[in-house]
């Protein structure tokens, strides 16, 4: 059984159809990347999957339960879905350590000592433990994103969503973050990542989902999709993003 199964997901904003019937499966331990041109609905899809945006219709089966149905405790579902944002979204009044422990203490109800131990263990994994007392404003973009990843991972989520995790970073910082996410991929962390970055996509995915105008056009491994696909739209898209790099 898939960890997440999306059936015919539709999202309309006023009269504009952003998602036009998405079908997608993500299994435990699997890592998928969603790519496509700007405005194709990638980020909307990710936000619909944990109901940050309410879908218009369709089903989202998470751990066997349709979370779009009324009566589902969406907060519990969200605790089980880590979310990493393009612009880091760290709580800027809290230190690195407190950013990580806040959810552990207030949502997981861990004792402070236990939460701090967990936070330090996770920060160590991304080489950020020495920055534990710093505030977000004192960190580089790459460091902020590593903390954001740790904040999500510390909650031990069933799946990690990443929304363009490298697009706000310069190439050097972007590589730092790709290395961290690649490590998660090698550790078989279940991930669904939206990105424009073919380098990131190649190194963190089992397969790539290509979206165009609100629908899934193709799903395949990076090599076939990047260099050898029969659909001209896909060839054109990947030629442009790979050339751009």
């Amino acid at each position: 059984m898939a960890l997440i199964e999306v059936r015919n997901l539709v999202k309309k904003f006023d009269d504009k159809d952003v998602l036009k019937g998405i079908n997608l499966e993500l299994h435990e331990g699997q890592s998928k990347v969603v790519m496509g041109a700007s405005g194709c609905g990638k980020s909307t899809l990710l936000r619909c999957l944990n109901l940050l945006i309410q879908p218009t219709s369709g089903e989202i089966i998470f751990k066997g339960e349709d979370i779009t149905r009324s009566g589902v405790d969406i907060r519990k579902v969200r605790e089980d879905i880590g979310f990493v944002f393009q612009h880091f979204a760290l709580y800027r009044h809290l230190t690195v350590e407190d950013n990580v422990t806040l959810g552990l203490r207030k949502l997981k109800k861990m004792k402070t000592k236990e939460a701090v131990e967990k936070a330090l263990y996770e920060l160590e994994r991304v080489d950020m433990v020495d920055h534990r007392d710093k505030y977000p404003a004192q960190l580089s973009g790459g460091q902020k994103q590593r903390v954001a990843i740790v904040r999500a991972l510390a909650m031990d989520p069933a799946v990690l969503f990443l929304d363009e995790p490298t697009s706000a970073l310069d190439p050097k910082m972007s590589r730092e973050v790709v290395t961290v996410i690649n490590k998660l991929f090698l550790d078989n962390i279940t991930m669904l990542c939206v990105t424009h970055d073919p380098f990131l996509a190649k190194y963190i995915s089992d397969s790539i989902v290509f979206m165009d105008e609100g629908i899934v056009v193709a799903e395949d491994i990076a090599e076939r999709l990047f260099y050898d696909h029969e659909d001209p739209r896909i060839r054109e898209f990947f030629m442009s993003v790979i050339d751009h790099r």
Binding site: R75, F83, F85, H87, Y91, G103, K106
Partner: protein, 221 residues
């Protein structure tokens, strides 16, 4: 001048009592106004449209009408309806409603300056609306509003003199009594002004210390 100083010494117990009353009213209204402001700020962000609308009406009313009108309405107007309140009670209620409205507006202004992605991140983590307010919005909004909130405390101190007009025996009421006894109005009011200035200076020093104490990297207040 010597006669005026003698009067000051002679009236010292009353002046001291007036100063105590002024300080008491300022401390109470600053505290109740602070928490009232937080309550109104919370309701301004409520999911309920009715709560948001009524809170906005409350804030607009109290910011848009003079404090003296509220005090007179309660002290001189309510007795016509059979409700009699002491000058102190009217002052506390009137000032609290007024100061809370201003504080709520300062906090709302700070809220508009927050990074909304942080709030989205908190929702994505599983925090409730109230938890997001408590752990993310309020600590940041208060930090960003510290200059406005401390200026409001200074304003509160100065505004206590208005309570004199509803028979509250504050410091200014005592100085007025000295002035009308010895007819040395200029000296009495200059002395009153000097005392208010000294008290305001103490608050300003404390406020700057507080600002330094709670300042964080990345927070320009």
């Amino acid at each position: 001048m010597a006669a005026f100083l003698n009067d000051l010494i002679a009236y010292w117990p009353q002046i001291l009592a007036g100063l105590k009353n002024t300080a008491l009213l300022m401390v109470i209204m600053s505290a109740t106004g602070f928490f009232g402001g937080i309550a109104a700020f919370y309701l301004s962000l409520s999911k309920s449209r009715a709560a948001r609308t009524w809170t906005e009406r409350y804030i607009s009313f109290f910011i848009g009408t003079p404090l003296l009108v509220h005090l007179f309405l309660m002290y001189y107007g309510l007795p016509e309806l059979g409700i009699h309140l002491s000058a102190f009670t009217v002052s506390v209620i009137g000032f609290t409603l007024n100061v809370s409205a201003y504080n709520a507006r300062y906090l709302m202004t700070a809220y508009h300056g927050l990074e909304k992605t942080e709030l989205e991140a908190a929702r994505a983590q599983g925090f409730t609306h109230t938890e997001i307010f408590r752990f993310i919005i309020l600590p940041q909004a208060i930090r960003l509003s510290v200059p406005s909130l401390t200026n409001q405390i200074i304003q509160n101190l100065k505004d206590t003199s208005v309570a004199f007009l509803i028979q509250y025996h504050d410091f200014f009421a005592q100085m007025q009594e000295i002035a009308s006894t010895n007819f040395q109005f200029f000296k009495a009011y200059m002395t009153a002004g000097g005392v208010y200035l000294a008290l305001v200076s103490i608050i300003v020093l404390a406020a700057r210390k507080l600002e330094r104490h709670i300042s964080l990297p990345g927070f320009q207040t």
